[in-house]
């Protein structure tokens, strides 16, 4: 037991980092669910593609033998590319795969199945074009192993700190956007009552597209962070992250932005604790158990749901 306690601080920090990533992905789910009342199954594939884009840019930089690679400018570069691609991909998805369906007022099944189809399509598109073998992020070239600090018995690498900072910054940024800007208000208005928002003169279609862009961009950023941390990415990584990120969103309260962040943190911590004290093979089950418990005992999540009373899609 003593040695378990010894690695506990380490695991907690790791759980924190994991949690912020889950939170970022969960935000994508939650925002889209808020405005469209639909689960964007393909969201995690966008996260995966973000990771690949980051890898591509990093590899290109390394191959071009650009000197003076410092994370201070490389990481933002990776993030920018990944977020842009991810955001645009999300907008395309909404425009071509979902909009024709929810405009038609099709049954709930339609958009959901289309989302599943999109997810499978994207996953395999990457597999076919990039190969089934994993790609490697040469993180050690960016973050030398020696860059770490010692806090309360835990050895925290600079990378983890950067992860937490970046994720935290993005979440804060999104929160400010949604709470304080006109755009953010229009997103909230559309999420709450689409028809009345239209009466106010809001271009509902545009707001939905923007929501998809933002949510997907965050997912793409999460992809880069995960790539940097785990150094190995493959076309299947979205799938394993999917259930967990969704659990985080539901745990915090679907549609609720603060909830998604909180849910992510809680899930990350609980999962790393479960791995520390339990059987690592079943770590994916932890997320699922939390999901079931939440849906059965407190379906609105910790901070409460934030969706319209009227059914939408």
């Amino acid at each position: 037991m003593a040695d378990v306690l010894q690695i506990l601080p380490q695991q907690l920090v790791f759980g924190l980092a994991l949690g912020t990533v889950y939170g970022l992905i969960a935000l994508g789910y939650t925002m889209v669910y808020g405005v469209l009342l639909m689960i964007n199954f393909a969201h995690v594939e966008i996260f995966m593609i973000g990771a690949y884009v980051g890898w591509g840019v990093l590899t290109a930089l390394l191959n071009a033998q650009v000197g003076g690679l410092h994370p201070a400018w490389v990481v933002p570069l990776l993030l920018l590319h990944a977020m842009l691609v991810a955001g645009l991909l999300g907008v395309c998805l909404e425009r071509f795969a979902y909009r024709p369906l929810y405009l038609r007022g099709a049954t709930r099944l339609g958009p959901l199945i289309s989302a599943v189809g999109a997810s499978i399509f994207l996953q395999n598109a990457v597999m076919v074009t990039q190969g089934a073998r994993m790609k490697v992020y040469m993180t050690s070239l960016l973050f030398p192993r020696g860059w770490r600090i010692q806090v309360a018995g835990a050895s925290i690498s600079a990378l983890v700190i950067v992860m937490i900072m970046v994720a935290g910054l993005m979440m804060w940024g999104l929160h400010e956007l949604v709470q304080r800007t006109t755009l953010g208000r229009s997103i909230r208005a559309v999420a709450e009552d689409r028809e009345t928002a239209a009466i106010m003169g809001v271009n509902v279609r545009r707001v939905i597209a923007v929501t998809f862009f933002l949510g997907s961009a965050l997912g793409g950023a999460a992809g880069v962070l995960v790539g940097l941390y785990y150094t190995q990415i493959d076309f299947y990584m979205g799938y394993s992250a999917g259930l967990k990120a969704f659990t985080a969103a539901v745990l915090g309260g679907i549609g609720n932005i603060k909830g998604a962040m909180l849910g992510g943190l809680v899930l990350g911590l609980v999962e790393s604790l479960a791995v520390t004290f339990g059987n690592p093979a079943y770590k994916d089950v932890v997320a699922f158990i939390i999901l079931i418990l939440t849906l059965v005992f407190r379906p609105t999540g910790i901070l409460g749901e934030n969706v319209a009373e009227r059914e939408k899609v």
Partner: protein
């Protein structure tokens, strides 16, 4: 200012509006009366482009608007206070009002401040509750918020869908007083109402809608005076 000519609107296979013709001139208060399911709300939705008419024309300031999307119509200067208010419960009073001014984002900050002032002067209660969530307001306060929100767009034509609904009589009088004040300040108003007496007491002219058709059209005074019309179409007070 607003003109509907032979407007026909369907909900699926059902013809809800059957050749509705009405007119609202600048500066007037016109009321549209009728019982349940007469097509009053549908008329409002048709004007605002929430539903598209199957036939006929809707013109605002001599330009056709029946093919335009809602946001374009709102930008032209038409604002709606929806039935049952439909304020954003999860936003504060201030944010609701700000949403009302959505189409005026390009306006200089000074103008917007004026508009907030105007609304707060009309509805002092809202000023007190600026940072409260809309959902925590009482029914009457929500109605004021809904009206204030519509005013933030500086509409030239204000549509109001059953403003008296669900309000205690004292509040109803208050609301209709405010409607008159707004009109005197220069806004043209089209009110849809079931409560004929109160609506006619402030209106210039009135139309009566029954089963999707205009059956009576006269000045408000004439409508109030004509007993048989009151009883036949408007029900007893």
């Amino acid at each position: 200012m607003l003109r509907l000519t032979d407007v026909v609107t369907h909900y699926g296979p059902i013809r809800v509006l059957k050749a509705v013709t009405l007119e609202v001139r600048a500066g007037e208060i016109v009321c549209l009366l009728g019982g349940n399911a007469s097509g009053k709300s549908t008329t409002m939705k048709t004007i605002l482009g929430v539903v598209r008419p199957t036939a006929g024309r809707v013109e605002f300031e001599d330009r056709r608007i029946d093919r335009l999307p809602t946001e374009a119509i709102v930008r032209r200067g038409v604002s709606l206070v929806p039935e049952s208010r439909r304020i954003f419960a999860r936003m504060t009073v201030w944010e609701n009002l700000a949403m009302g001014a959505f189409t005026r984002q390009k306006a200089p900050a000074g103008e917007l401040a004026e508009d907030f002032e105007r609304v707060y002067t009309l509805f002092p209660r809202l000023s007190e509750r600026q940072h409260q969530l809309g959902g925590t307001l009482s029914g009457g306060e929500q109605q004021m918020l809904a009206v204030g929100r519509a005013l933030m767009a500086r509409p030239r034509l204000l549509l109001m869908d059953e403003p008296s609904m669900g309000l205690a009589p004292a509040l109803v009088d208050q609301v209709f007083d405010i409607i008159q004040t707004i009109n005197r300040q220069g806004t043209t108003i089209l009110v849809v109402e079931q409560n004929a007496a109160v609506a006619l007491s402030i209106a210039n002219r009135g139309y009566v809608l029954q089963n999707g058709r205009i059956v009576v059209h006269d000045t408000a005074r004439a409508l109030l005076a004509a007993d048989h019309i009151r009883r036949a179409y408007l029900g007893e007070d």
